[in-house]
Symmetry: C2
Subunit: 404 residues, 2 copies
């Protein structure tokens, strides 16, 4: 099974705090195998393959490779390119000229689709290639895995922000009583749900959580906000960015205003601003909104150590799977820390795992204890970053491009 | 000068990460003086005086008092109430019945106005009262002090967020090349300016910074963003929330839409959303925006140790000043850590200190090295918080109300 050849690693989709922890895991594990010669990185994922922008990762220092374990952003560059059938010729010419025999793609649902198609195309063409997908998404919406690397750190940052901004809001109930925090996570409620970890006493933030899984009613929302305000003196509300009404339309945009990305997904922005206006206009209560946006995916300064360890583990497991002769699989995470499994790429590509209905309360405005028991272990431990001059210091690849 | 009587402490305006560090400083210093009998806290600042909501801080445990040093939000409750002349009778009846002889007010410009008026009214009425203002504002806009407690921690969090979100953005230049981060700070550019601390190499984030001090031109902005995008491949932009055009009007709102708070200040929201739309519409480049909002004022999980120490110092210095017989002053901070001075309240009330013109570059879109030398010491050191179960744990006052 010892296939001689080179490794190519790509990062795809939006970065997470720990996407480079998986890159670290792949590189360090690949270095252990004598039959793996070169270890390359594609700059901006599959786009880098198409543009022949490939770097030599063996030319990076050990210090930089080690630093990847705690560096946000995608060190190789991410992408949102949807691979076309007409691209396949170019891809395999590049693979062939660089003698790529192992392809590791770190990404989410869309990226697993790309990996699956490359695996299929290689088989059809008789090109010997082992393709393994490495999961990554703060959305936590990949199926067939207990959880996704990236989610734990994002959940920890969101819960920390809600606890802190919740204390701030509670101390200003007499003048600025309502705060709405908007999480990322396109169509699933994993991140708004995780904000519930911030609550330790009954009237702590968050008071109300709204999930993309549940049809949103503005009338019900305003009633619940007003009731909370009457009872507590204020309200801290967490909303997923992709709330939809009963007709399935995003609540803050007119149908023809929905912008879409290259995969046809709507790109969302302003639900918290929309709801803030709705509260001020209808309830005549002052409200604030917080849109942490990509800070959620990049907050390595307070990342989950459990998440870092899981992310390293999926990288290592991907190399082990490929080294043992497998192809066409994605690594999965089990319930225990750094424990991994495998699943066929076809079973995860383009599938979204939503929050189970029974993990949200009957009113559809909070999580149940099952959700909390699931999420709690994933935010444990603090990934220490290097701090110099008062700020975190992160690794930077020097990027030695190879000639093709 | 040993005036026997009770202490009353209030917190006013929006909280900062370290507003309770000053509360800790006042309480611990007050406990050292035998002639200070009771140490009370007004719930929601001067509003708590008017409503007779006053708590006994000697009934809090040492553990809770110590925890205040690293707890965000205003533990006593903040307020935005503008003291009316007609309120003075009630205030002094409450002061008299609780035998308040020392009044410490932790706040910003507006709060120093309240403190100055109380000091004047006490003198006019012949009520023996020592009033000392304790500075607090992430805006860093109080005059006559080298810097303000709260600014350093906010600056550290903003610079950290810009460094992290900047790495994220740079790794996505081929698909989502532009990010705009909006800081708080009503009319001054101290916080957008401090984001420049994140830059360690020329093309690092932030690339462009826009200050409320400089009249904003949307045409110039779009040209500069496009030029940066052409040169770097993307752009990370930081903007103050209160950008105004050459006519002095907030750029994102129509004149009649400007909401105002109780002090007549406009309450601002959406400049980054406005600019994101302007970029997408005019330059046809995908852009994101980040609105950290009150997370900036509450991020004790990565606060500046220098800032905590300064905040404790101004609290202690306030007690020392009052104990020595002074009244009608605000404590100031000097350049050196935890070094304090005093200034008459009248000289700071309602005055805003802006970023000096020579600390912004000629193009008005970045800071100079003078600014960086000023801000750099203020973000040094990490204030360690207690972490339990993966999240920071903060102190909570039990709040024993006194009978009046």
């Amino acid at each position: 099974m010892a296939l001689e050849g080179n490794v190519l690693i790509g990062q795809s989709g939006g970065p997470t705090s720990v996407i480079n922890s998986s890159l670290y895991g792949i590189i360090t594990e690949a270095k252990k195998h004598g039959f793996i010669r070169e270890i390359y990185g594609a700059v901006h994922g599959i786009e880098g393959v198409l543009r022949k922008q490939i770097i030599d990762l063996r030319r990076e220092t050990d210090e930089v490779i080690d630093g990847l374990k705690r560096t946000p952003g995608a060190a190789l560059g991410g992408c949102r390119y949807k691979l076309q059938d007409t691209d396949m010729g170019t891809v395999f010419r590049v693979f062939d000229s660089a003698d790529i025999r192992y392809f590791f793609y770190i990404g989410g649902n869309d990226s697993m689709d790309t990996a699956a198609r490359l695996n299929k195309a290689a088989k059809e063409q008789g090109y010997e290639l082992r393709v393994i997908g490495v999961p990554k998404t703060i959305d936590n919406d990949l199926p067939e895995t207990h959880h996704c690397p990236g989610f734990g750190s994002c959940a920890k940052y969101v819960a920390t922000s809600v606890r802190e901004a919740g204390l701030h809001t509670a101390s200003m109930y007499t003048s600025e009583p309502i705060t709405i925090l908007q999480t990322v996570g396109r169509n699933t409620g994993w991140l708004p749900g995780a904000s519930a970890l911030a609550k330790s006493q009954e009237d702590d933030a968050p008071h109300l959580i709204y999930f993309p899984e549940i049809a949103f009613s503005i009338e019900k929302f305003l009633e619940e906000v007003e009731a909370t305000y009457r009872r507590v003196g204020g309200a801290f509300i967490v909303v997923g960015e992709g709330l939809k009404d009963a007709r399935g339309e995003y609540i803050e945009v007119q149908e023809d205003d929905v912008a879409t990305d290259a995969f046809g997904h709507p790109t969302l922005g302003g639900v918290s601003e929309f709801l803030r206006n709705a509260i001020e206009k209808n309830l005549k209560i002052k409200a604030r909104n917080i849109k942490l946006d990509i800070c959620q995916q990049a907050a390595m300064h307070f990342a989950s150590l459990r998440d870092v360890n899981d992310a390293v583990a999926v990288g290592k497991a991907a190399v082990d799977a490929a080294a043992s002769g497998l192809s066409g699989f994605m690594v999965t995470l089990l319930k225990e820390e750094a424990a991994t499994g495998l699943i066929e790429l076809e079973k995860v590509a383009n599938v979204e795992r939503k929050v189970p209905v029974e993990w949200m309360n009957k009113e559809g405005n909070f999580v149940t204890s099952d959700f909390l028991e699931y999420a709690h272990p994933l935010i444990q431990g603090e990934a220490r970053v290097l701090v110099e001059d008062g700020l975190p210091v992160y690794a930077r690849l020097k990027k030695s491009f190879i000639q093709l």
